[in-house]
């Protein structure tokens, strides 16, 4: 169950240009959080920017909850200026996360850019298992600071693809998909086109796959119907589903990819 927190900022540091690691001290939130869930953060007490910003939980450790965010606009710019000791108005944990129990399947994390962030928390839950990660990013540095380094630290086997070839092979992460074993379970997060390609590949090969979607949000709790994605009903009809409440994580088979 989600709650509202006034969470103390323990640290907010620019881990590489334009990407920040924000560490919140909030024991209860840490206890409630599940991998793939997100926080809805009020970045300013002023009336503008008005809406909260949805940000995935990247890491949870000893009562601390971390996020990794990329500065892309006004809200994240303000968030980048938050300093140690300030209190942040945080709502969460929200949404339906990943199903972190892969059973006897081999978990394969597929992440693109800042979409790698939530896979860190998921990998924490998968610790002790053999985990493969296929990661893509602009370059080595972004891949590392978007969560790659942390996955590495957990002993996850990483295969990388970068735009400039500075790490792994040059190209898109989707070009690594052939490495997913037939009994694999894909957990994917990243840009829309990447997710679509991953899901299509998985559906085609009959590989299980969970994807974390993104959509602009009004409420973040399922009340406003502003964040819809095209899903499939049990009967196979295309129906709107709420990314914030029915997701953000969906089984690839629940989504209408047409």
């Amino acid at each position: 169950m989600a709650e509202l927190f006034q969470a103390r900022v323990l640290r907010n540091s620019e881990v590489c240009p334009g990407i920040f690691n924000l560490v919140l001290e909030e024991v209860r939130l840490a206890a409630l959080a599940q991998p793939g869930q997100f926080l809805n953060i009020r970045v300013s007490a002023a009336n503008s920017p008005l809406l909260r910003r949805p940000l995935s939980i990247h890491w949870v450790e000893e009562g601390r909850v971390e996020i990794l965010f990329q500065v892309v606009g006004q809200g994240t710019e303000i968030l980048a200026r938050v300093r140690t000791g300030e209190m942040l108005d945080v709502q969460g944990p929200l949404g339906r996360g990943f199903d972190p129990d892969p059973g006897d399947r081999t978990p394969v994390l597929v992440g693109g850019g800042i979409g790698i962030a939530p896979l860190g928390f998921l990998a924490q839950h998968l610790e002790g298992r053999k985990v493969l990660a296929l990661l893509g990013a602009r370059n080595r540095e972004v891949l590392g600071c978007s969560g790659g380094t942390r996955l590495d630290g957990l002993g996850v086997a990483i295969r990388a693809a970068t735009d400039d070839g500075s790490l792994g092979q040059q190209g898109l992460v989707t070009e690594l998909l052939s490495e997913v074993p037939a009994n694999g379970l894909i957990y994917a997060c990243g840009p829309g086109p990447m997710l679509r390609a991953v899901a299509r590949y998985a559906l085609e090969k009959g590989i299980r796959c969970q994807v974390s979607l993104e959509e602009h949000m009004g409420c973040g709790v399922g009340a406003c119907l502003g964040c819809m994605c095209r899903g499939l009903s049990a009967a196979g009809e295309s129906v709107y589903k709420r990314v914030c409440a029915d997701g953000p994580v969906f089984d690839a088979r629940e989504v209408d990819w047409r």
Binding site: L51, R52, G222, C224
Partner: protein
């Protein structure tokens, strides 16, 4: 009442509310989404998402755009329809210890009549808010809300099909909102609520296309508060029925402004998104304001700024 206590109850067109704070239709889901943050039992009432006779998928995505101190939405009345509402949501709503306002819309006068009578029969609904002002649908919606004759016709149809208090929700997208208010009151409305969203749009300069798939959307949030307040001021002095005021309410100060302008009760909409505890904080803030100012009955605030 103990000394120092404030009587917060108000009567909204026959609807006895324990306090004057309610929620706006379409921003509060079906009452469960915000329950973890603010117990609906502590609110005067809640209004649920707009209902139509048939299932509606709503408008294509994107449906939202943030604007300075506000937001645009073009949800387009996505809702499960009256059948599923009764089967799936109403039983849950009945369990909440609060008054539930059903918000209804339709393509035709008959639709409004039909949904009203269904709600009347179903039971568990405290009042009907008649949305004649949705800017996001092709048929009905805003057309009913900009023409006094059509507004009256819809009101009459609902009135004839229910004994429940009827609250007609007015559109701000008109030259003279008091004209529409008078028309629906003459047609039997027990109260009016205002404002619905103001028609607006946003453009993405990268794609050079409107941001919303539906092109136009409805503006809500603090940006619209001055306009909402003005209309509450005008309408509450023009008609004899109570006004449910809304539009940009985020804090107790906002809510008190609306009551001083003439609102009998207020509703929190977009404010829920920003602060899910806003409705509760507003109840507390109104009570505190009354106490600090020696006001024993919150009713005394209603229209206190008129002169």
């Amino acid at each position: 009442m103990k000394s120092g206590e404030v009587n917060l109850s108000v009567n909204l067109g026959g609807l006895e509310l324990r306090n004057p704070v309610t929620t706006c239709s379409g921003t509060y889901g079906f009452g469960e989404e915000y329950a973890p943050y603010a117990d609906p039992a502590q609110l005067g009432a809640i209004a649920v998402k707009g209902l139509t006779r048939e299932v509606r998928q709503g408008n294509p995505m994107p449906r939202l755009a943030e604007t300075p101190s506000g937001m645009l939405n073009s949800i387009g009345l996505q809702n499960p329809g009256i059948d599923e509402f009764e089967a799936r949501y109403l039983p849950e709503l009945r369990k909440l210890d609060t008054k539930v306002l059903a918000n209804i819309a339709g393509n035709s006068v008959e639709d409004y009549a039909y949904v009203s009578s269904r709600l009347e029969e179903a039971g568990g609904i405290a009042g009907i808010e008649v949305n004649i002002s949705c800017p996001n649908v092709k048929h009905g919606g805003i057309q009913f809300g900009t023409d006094p004759k059509m507004a009256a016709q819809v009101t009459r149809a609902v009135r004839e099909n229910t004994m429940l208090p009827v609250i007609v929700k007015l559109s701000p997208n008109v030259t003279d909102i008091t004209e529409i208010a008078r028309a629906v009151v003459d047609a039997g409305a027990d109260a009016v609520s205002l404002i619905n969203t103001i028609l607006g749009m946003a453009i993405d300069i990268r794609s050079r296309r409107p941001v919303l798939a539906n092109i136009l959307g409805g503006l809500s949030g603090p940006a619209v508060k001055p306009v909402a307040l003005r209309m509450v001021w005008q309408v509450s002095q023009a008609v004899k029925v109570p006004v449910l005021g809304m539009g940009g309410i985020l804090t107790a100060t906002d809510a008190i402004e609306f009551m001083l302008a003439g609102a009998t009760a207020v509703a929190v909409g977009t404010g829920n998104f920003v602060n899910p505890r806003a409705p509760l904080e507003i109840v507390a803030g109104i009570e505190e304001y009354c106490r600090a100012n020696g006001i024993r009955e919150v009713k005394e605030l209603i229209g206190a700024a008129w002169l």
